[in-house]
Structure formats: structure tokens, C-alpha cells
Amino acid sequence: MAGDSASVPKLRSAAEAAALIQSGWTLMVGGFGLSGCPLTVLRALEACDVGGLTVISNNLGEPGRGLGRLLLQGKIRKAIGSFFTSNPDVGRAYLAGELEVELLPQGTMSEAIRAGGAGIPAFYTPTAAGTKLAEGKETREFDGRLCVLERALHADAALIRAARADALGNLVYRGSQRNFNPMMATAADLVIAEVDEIVPPGELPPEAIVTPHLFVDVLVLSDPGSGSDGRG
């Protein structure tokens, strides 16, 4: 399918999609490292005049790549995620007081996104009980085990990455690019999915569809030049 907007109503250019994002929004951004990260949409967002963003993502990209570029532009005010040490720019911005960081265990983060998408406001987990990451959080014992109350996460927009979509916006993923993307698709008011290819409805086997189309608002075709194959 050529992917024109007449046959694919949700299709937008990367610039059109990025222009939907407003200053001060909370964004979920998929990816584990750069695998499964929507690099084309992030590149388009670099050109937008937005700031004060809160980003929920496992990492903040790598130095000068992915979300790391938005960080260097000063667009990100706060980061919520599990592992920021692989990008030294995050430490520098944090120590300079330019970036607020909220660290969550990776399983707590993914469960908080899942809960946010499923209408569950909070949940208890033993993970982190008794550690620094539970300081200030409510605790309660279940079956003799201390548990921490964790709030669900929800976002104004989710920027996600998949391999293929059909014209309705059903998504399938490739390899380990899936990671946080399917949960993020459920937990934001506006969901922008970057894909390599858009095929006619019926071409993706129903059994293979991981993210059903009702979760997806906007489709963007990836641009290999943006490094969206993970090599950029």
C-alpha cells in the first residue's frame, strides 16, 4: 500500500504528528535503548518549539541519539524511567539542576504503565520494599510480605514504534523492539505509532496483531535516514 492519507486515514507526516505535541505535556516514549524507539518522530519533535516535557521512558536515549538529542535541546524537564546511567548527559543535566529524575524499578515502571492503560489507579508490589526507592511511599503487609504502593502512569501522548501496521492501525512488532510499546499504546490520550510499512487490512493475521487499532490514533512512516533502524 502506498500509504496515502485517503486509504490510511490515520497517516500523518512525522512533522504533522510532532506538531500535535504541546509544551508541558507528559510523553511516554517506547524503546529499550534505541531498539523500539520512534526515532523519526523524535527527530521531527526536535524541530518543534516545545519545552517543559515530562518523559516516561526506560532510558533517555544515548548521547546525542534518540531522546538524548531532546535532552541536549533543553526540551525535557523531568524524566521518569528505570535506567539513565548509560547516557552521561542525563547525569550532567541532573547535577546542573536542569532535569528532575524519578527512578522506578523496571518491572514497577512497566506495571505502572500497564495499570494506567487498564484503568487501575495504583497497585502493591514487594519490589523495592525496604530500599531507597520506596522512601516516602505507603507500605502494607500482604501474607507476611512488605509491599509498596505504586501509582499508575498515564500520559498526554505516547510515541511508540512497531514494525508494521495495517491501514486501520493494527500493529505488529519485530524482535526485541516490542518492550514497553504495547503498554504505552494503552496508557496515553494520543498515541502516535511509527512503523516501517503499512499494509491493507486483512494482510496482518489477526492472531499476530499485538496492538489492536483502537489504541492507535496516528501512524507515521519511519525514515531510515533518522536512524530509525536503530543504527542512527
Binding site: 529499550f32 531498539s35 524499578p105 506495571e111 508490589t125 519490589t127 530500599t131 503498554m183
Partner: protein, 226 residues
């Protein structure tokens, strides 16, 4: 034995902890060395928390795929029967007690089996990854660590570094010794052939008892009972 390479020696000894059919997660550090030592006929399934069950060895140079990486973001391959899933399913495996063994790196382990492996004091709190989920959720935690750091014991009476999870460690493997925690006691079960009980005592701050396991599995070459 790998006298010159303590990390590789630890990884080799860790292989003997894994049983056919085990689902195993490898943490960062020394545990990642185990992946390339495993042979398919051992029947161990490697789970990677970014969403793979059935991780295979590293790909040959030039055949790396950016969408086939492990949790350390290194390129990997997958074995026949592998599956891909999202992070919520992955952490349901980890937090729901479906991982048989987590091989984890350690900064400190104390004599109560408390683990510290995520934060060095004085540095900003910027990374935890899946360390806590694995330490709290895996059925069995095996800590792989060098015995000392700059000559300072890493097996201590009480943690001085921030806790990852309380009382979670089942077994510790260093280049010198294997310890197991059993009913609140720390037991020295094996010694490397090129060390002595006296040397291990001198380099270990934690208080332990010497107790070769009754009915223990056959020894790995290079290891002996104290």
C-alpha cells in the same frame, strides 16, 4: 583453571548451578559471560527482561540486528523455540516467580544474604533497571562477584551500600569460594583449588561456617570441599 581471569572462572563455576529446564536471567557484569559458555544441550532457557525467552549466543561480526538485543543492549541471537513479548509479560515472569535462577552481579553481600548491587554512594540515583525486580522475584538468586574490590572484602557483616533486596541471596560464587545461605546461616561449601581456608577467612568480613553440603553435587574441576 582460569587463574588469570577471575571473572571467567566465576562464570564457569556458575554453569554448574543450572539444571536442565531452568529458566535463567543473567544480570549485568560477570553474569553476561555465562551466555557464551552455555551449550544448547544443557537445556537452559535464557530470559532477557527486554522481552526474549530463548536467548542464544552472540552473533558473528557483521550479523548484528539492532532489534535483537539483550538487557545489557548487546546484540544476541535467538534459539529455536524462542519467543518475544512485551515488558509487562517479561516482568510478570520475573516478579511472578517464574524465573528459576537469577545470576546477578554484586557490589556487596552481607552475612544475612542481603544484596547490594545497584547504587554506589555519592553518585546520583540514576539507574536501577531490573535489578530489584529480579532480586525480589526470582525463585533463586545466585550472586556472582569477585571476592574483593581493591583488596576490600565484598562479603561483609552488614551492608554499607544501599540495599537491592533483603535476604534474597541463596548462593554466592567468587573466584575463591562458594557460599550458601541456609536457615539464616552463611555456609562455606567449596574452595577453589588455588586458595586456602585461611586466605578466604582473611579476605571475608562476613562470619561464615564451614560446611560442605551433605549430598552435594559433584565438584566442578578446579574446586574442592573445605
Amino acid at each position: 583453571m582460569d587463574a588469570a581471569d577471575p571473572r571467567r572462572r566465576i562464570a564457569r563455576r556458575a554453569l554448574a548451578e543450572l539444571q536442565p529446564g531452568d529458566v535463567v536471567n543473567l544480570g549485568v557484569g560477570i553474569p553476561t559471560l555465562v551466555a557464551d559458555l552455555l551449550r544448547p544441550e544443557q537445556g537452559v532457557y535464557l530470559q532477557s527482561e527486554n522481552g526474549i525467552l530463548g536467548v542464544g549466543p552472540s552473533p558473528p561480526p557483521g550479523e548484528e540486528d539492532p532489534d535483537l538485543i539483550n538487557a545489557s543492549k548487546q546484540p544476541v541471537t535467538v534459539l529455536p523455540g524462542a519467543s518475544f513479548f512485551d515488558s509487562a509479560a517479561s516482568f510478570a515472569m520475573i516478579r511472578g516467580g517464574h524465573i528459576h535462577v537469577a545470576l546477578l552481579g554484586a557490589l556487596q553481600v552481607d552475612e544475612q544474604g542481603n544484596l547490594a548491587n545497584w547504587l554506589v554512594p555519592g553518585r546520583p540515583i540514576l539507574g536501577v533497571g531490573g535489578a530489584m525486580d529480579l532480586a525480589f522475584g526470582a525463585r533463586r538468586v545466585v550472586a556472582l562477584t569477585t571476592h574483593t574490590n581493591d583488596g576490600k572484602p565484598k562479603l561483609v557483616r552488614t551492608l554499607t551500600l544501599p540495599l537491592t533486596a533483603p535476604h534474597c541471596v541463596d548462593t554466592v560464587i567468587t573466584e575463591l569460594a562458594v557460599f550458601r545461605f541456609w536457615q539464616g546461616r552463611m555456609l562455606l561449601c567449596e574452595l577453589a583449588e588455588d586458595t586456602t581456608l585461611e586466605e578466604v577467612r582473611r579476605l571475608t568480613e562476613a562470619r561464615f561456617e564451614v560446611e560442605p553440603e551433605p549430598g552435594a553435587a559433584p565438584l566442578t574441576p578446579g574446586w574442592t570441599r573445605p
